[in-house]
C-alpha cells in the first residue's frame, strides 16, 4: 500500500513541481507521459513520487506523446482517472488524439508547458502551441504562477468530471517563466483535496452486462448532433468554472476569478487583456501608471475555451479602448486572443477600439517598459489618435 497521507504544507516549488504535487493530490489511476522541455520536471517528479511510494498510480512510460494521450484514453475508457503532461511539439504530435478524447468525452486532465513551435526551433515560451489547439474541444485554462498551477490541476478534474461537462481540460503554464520559476506554494492536505475532489465515479466504468462502444463512427445522419452536444457541454462549463472556483476559494482560501480576473478595472478607461505569467508584471505597471493618475486596468483572461464572450460584450461599454497581449500569432491575420476579444466585443452598435499586441514570442521577455508602451498606445487611441490595430512589441527592428 502506498502512503499518500499528505499533510498541508508550504513548499518552495517551481511551476512544474507544483503541477506534479497537484496531480498527486488528485489521485489519478493512470499517468502516461513522455518527457519534453520544459515540461520534463513534471514527468520526473511524478516518477520520483511513484519510486518513493508516495503516489499510488499506474505509471505508463509511453514512447511518444501520441501514445501518451492514447494510453490516457484507454485508461479513461475503462473508468480510470488519467493524467498526462506535454509541451509544444509534443502537443502538436498528439493533436489527432486531442480530438478523439474530447469527441468521445473522456475527462482527462493534461498540463501543457507553453513553448514555441519549430521552425526556427526554440525551447522557450509562447502560447502558439496551445492556441493552435483551439478547435480540438478541450477546455483551456492559462495560469499565472505555481500556486494557480497546483490549484487548477485540482479544479480541472472537478470540471472535467462534472456530470454536465465530461470534457478534457488542458492547464497551460508559460514555459520557463512559470514552469521553472520557484515560488512558495501552499500544498493542501490529501484529506482536504479528497473532500473537494472525491474518488472518480466514472460513467465509463466497465460494465460487461451493459457493454458500450466508444469513439464509434457516426454517419452524416448523426454526426452533427454529437458535435452539438460537445458544444453544449463546453457552454455548460462556463457556469461550472465559476462555481467550482468559488467552492475552491471557500475551502482553500484562494478564488482565482473564474473565467477572467480583473485588476483595477472599475474606473479604468483602457484595459489590457493578458494570459498567463505576464499578468503579474502587468499589474505592477498598472500600479505605477495609476500612481501617475492614469486610469488603466488589467483583465487576466483565464479560460480561452470556453471563451468568456459575455464578459467582453459587457466590457465594451465600460472602457474606451482594449489592448490584448498575444504571445502567439496566426500568420496572415493577428493573435488568437485578439481575434476572439474583437469578435466578442463587436455588435450592431459598431466595432470596438482594440489593439492586438504581439509580444513575448519564443521566450522574449515582455518588460515593464513594453507594457507601459502598450498602455500609452491605448490611451492615445482612447483620445482619438490613430493607432495600428496589430503591433509587434519588443522587436529588434
Amino acid at each position: 500500500m502506498t502512503n499518500q497521507n499528505i499533510v498541508s504544507s508550504r513548499e518552495f516549488l517551481n511551476g512544474d513541481e507544483a503541477v506534479a504535487y497537484g496531480a498527486r493530490l488528485c489521485r489519478p489511476n493512470v499517468v502516461s507521459v513522455y518527457p519534453i522541455t520544459p515540461q520534463t520536471i513534471v514527468v520526473e517528479k511524478i516518477s520520483e513520487f511513484v519510486a518513493n511510494n508516495s503516489m499510488d498510480c499506474e505509471y505508463v512510460h509511453v514512447e511518444s506523446e501520441h501514445s501518451a494521450m492514447a494510453a490516457a484514453m484507454g485508461a479513461s475508457m475503462v473508468g480510470a482517472r488519467a493524467f498526462t503532461a506535454t509541451s509544444s511539439q509534443g502537443l502538436a504530435y498528439m493533436h489527432e488524439m486531442l480530438h478523439y478524447v474530447s469527441g468521445s468525452r473522456f475527462p482527462i486532465v493534461m498540463m501543457n508547458a507553453n513553448r514555441t513551435l519549430a521552425a526556427p526551433w526554440n525551447i522557450f515560451g509562447d502560447q502558439r502551441d496551445s492556441m493552435a489547439q483551439r478547435d480540438t474541444g478541450w477546455i483551456q485554462v492559462y495560469v499565472e504562477n505555481g500556486q494557480e498551477s497546483l490549484d487548477m490541476i485540482i479544479q480541472a478534474y472537478r470540471l472535467a468530471e462534472h456530470e454536465g461537462i465530461y470534457l478534457p481540460v488542458m492547464v497551460n503554464l508559460d514555459g520557463f517563466v512559470n514552469t521553472h520559476t520557484y515560488e512558495l506554494v501552499s500544498i493542501p492536505s490529501q484529506k482536504e483535496v479528497d473532500e473537494f475532489l472525491p474518488a472518480f465515479a466514472s460513467k465509463n466504468a466497465v460494465d460487461f452486462n451493459n457493454p458500450r462502444s466508444y469513439c464509434m463512427s457516426a454517419s452524416t445522419e448523426w454526426n452533427m448532433e454529437f458535435r452539438y452536444q460537445q458544444h453544449e457541454a463546453m457552454m455548460n462549463a462556463k457556469k461550472v468554472i465559476e462555481s467550482v472556483d468559488k467552492e475552491f476559494g471557500d475551502k482553500f482560501g484562494r478564488y482565482h476569478g473564474g473565467m477572467v480576473k480583473e485588476y483595477k478595472c472599475d474606473d479604468a478607461e483602457v484595459v489590457l487583456v493578458t494570459t498567463g505569467s505576464v499578468s503579474g508584471t502587468s499589474r505592477l505597471v498598472v500600479d505605477s501608471m495609476r500612481e501617475k493618475g492614469l486610469k488603466v486596468g488589467l483583465v487576466k483572461l483565464r479560460f480561452f475555451r470556453p471563451f468568456p464572450v459575455e464578459y467582453f460584450k459587457g466590457l465594451k461599454s465600460r472602457v474606451k479602448a482594449v489592448g490584448v497581449i498575444d504571445r502567439n500569432l496566426s500568420f496572415g491575420y493577428e493573435g488568437a486572443v485578439g481575434s476572439e476579444v474583437k469578435s466578442a466585443m463587436y455588435d450592431s452598435c459598431g466595432s470596438p477600439k482594440v489593439i492586438d499586441f504581439i509580444a513575448g514570442i519564443a521566450g522574449r521577455d515582455i518588460k515593464k517598459k513594453d507594457i507601459e508602451l502598450m498602455y500609452n498606445k491605448l490611451l492615445n487611441l482612447s483620445k482619438g489618435q490613430k493607432e495600428e490595430e496589430l503591433q509587434f512589441i519588443g522587436m529588434r527592428w
Binding site: N29, V30, S32, C57, E58, V60, H61, V62, E63, S64, H66, S67, A68, A70, A71, A72, M73, G74, A75, S76, M77, V78, G79, A80, A82, E96, M97, Y100, S104, A205, V206, D207, F208, P211, R212, S213, Y214, C215, M216, S217, A218, S219, W222
Partner: protein, 295 residues
C-alpha cells in the same frame, strides 16, 4: 485445446457490415467466442472498426473502442493499466488492427507496448493492403500484387517489395507469446487465442485473413484461398514461446505458388518469370525457417 464442438453458441460479433467472404469477419467472431464476455476491444481505423461500430448499430456485444490509427498498442496499454489500477481482474484486453495499422502506422505504439510488457492480446489481421480505404499497398503487401497505389502497368510489376516480417519483429522484442495463423485454420487460430489469453503480458497473433474484394476471388473461396497460401508456403503457421519457435504445420512438399497466385485477380498480370522470382523468394524464406527454427 479448443474443439469446434465445445465452442459457445453465443455470438459476440454479430450483424457486421463486412463484405461477403471476409476473412477478418471470421477472425473477429472466433476470437471473441474463445475470449468470452469479459473482453474489451480496441479497434484502430480499419475495416474492422468501420464494419462493426457504425452508430447506432454496434456489432460487438462486449465493450469496445475505436481509436486513432497509430495508437492501438498505446490504447491497449492504457486499458490494461486502468483495469489494474482499479483492481478489475480476469478481463481480456484485445486489439484488432489491420496490416497497415500494425506494420506501418501502428508499429511504434505496438513496439512500445510490447517492450513495456503490458498485459494485452494484439491481433493483426493481415489482408495485405489498406482495404478499408480501397486497396492501397501497405508494408505487408506481397511482391507483385496490384493495388490501387501500386497498379501493374507497362512500367510496373505492381508492388515491388516483399512483405515485412512482423512475427520476427515481435520475436526480437522477446515477447512472451507470438504466433502466426490463418483464418482458414480455425482450430489452430482459436488455440492460439486461448494461449494468448492465458499468457501474462503481451501476446501477438498475426493472422492471414484473405480478402475477396481486395485480392479478387469469389467470396465463397475465402477458406480455400487461405488454405492455398499455407500449402504453397507463402504463409506459415508458427508460434513463439519460451524463447523458441515451433512450426505448427509444415507441408511435406510446398505446392507451386502459381495455382495460388492465379486464383486471384491481383496477381493475374504476373508472367512466368515473375512467378519464378516469387517461388525463389519463398524457397529462401523456407531455408531460413528450416535453418533457424526446425533444427
Amino acid at each position: 485445446m479448443i474443439k469446434m464442438k465445445d465452442l459457445t453458441d453465443k455470438e459476440y460479433l454479430y450483424g457486421h457490415k463486412a463484405c461477403p467472404g471476409c476473412g477478418m469477419g471470421i477472425v473477429g467472431r472466433l476470437a471473441t467466442k474463445v475470449l468470452g464476455e469479459k473482453t474489451i476491444i480496441a479497434l484502430p481505423a480499419s475495416c474492422m472498426s468501420t464494419v462493426t461500430t457504425q452508430y447506432p448499430q454496434m456489432n460487438y456485444s462486449v465493450p469496445s473502442m475505436t481509436m486513432a490509427f497509430p495508437g492501438t498498442g498505446a490504447v491497449l496499454s492504457g486499458m490494461s493499466a486502468g483495469l489494474k489500477s482499479l483492481g478489475v481482474k480476469d478481463v481480456n484486453v484485445i486489439g484488432f488492427a489491420g496490416d497497415g495499422g500494425t506494420a506501418d502506422i501502428g508499429i511504434q505504439a505496438l513496439s512500445g507496448a510490447v517492450e513495456r510488457g503490458d498485459d494485452f492480446i494484439y491481433v493483426c489481421y493481415d489482408n495485405e493492403a489498406y482495404m478499408n480505404t480501397g486497396i492501397q499497398r501497405s508494408g505487408m503487401t506481397p511482391y507483385g500484387a496490384t493495388t490501387t497505389t501500386t497498379p501493374s502497368g507497362t512500367a510496373s510489376i505492381g508492388e515491388k517489395h516483399f512483405k515485412k516480417n512482423m512475427f520476427e519483429i515481435m520475436i526480437a522484442h522477446r515477447i512472451p507469446y507470438a504466433a502466426t495463423a490463418c483464418s482458414s485454420y480455425t482450430t489452430d487460430f482459436m488455440n492460439k487465442i486461448e494461449k494468448a489469453k492465458n499468457i501474462k503480458g503481451p501476446a501477438y497473433i498475426h493472422v492471414m485473413a484473405p480478402c475477396p474484394t481486395g485480392w479478387g476471388f469469389p467470396s465463397e473461396l475465402t477458406v480455400e484461398i487461405g488454405k492455398m497460401i499455407v500449402e504453397c508456403g507463402l504463409w506459415y503457421l508458427a508460434e513463439y514461446e519460451n524463447g523458441k519457435v515451433k512450426m505448427n504445420l509444415v507441408p511435406k512438399t510446398l505446392k507451386p505458388v502459381k495455382d495460388y497466385l492465379m486464383a486471384q485477380k491481383r496477381f493475374k498480370h504476373l508472367k512466368d518469370e515473375d512467378i519464378k522470382a516469387i517461388e525463389e523468394h519463398r524457397d529462401s524464406e523456407w531455408e531460413l525457417i528450416r535453418e533457424n527454427w526446425m533444427k
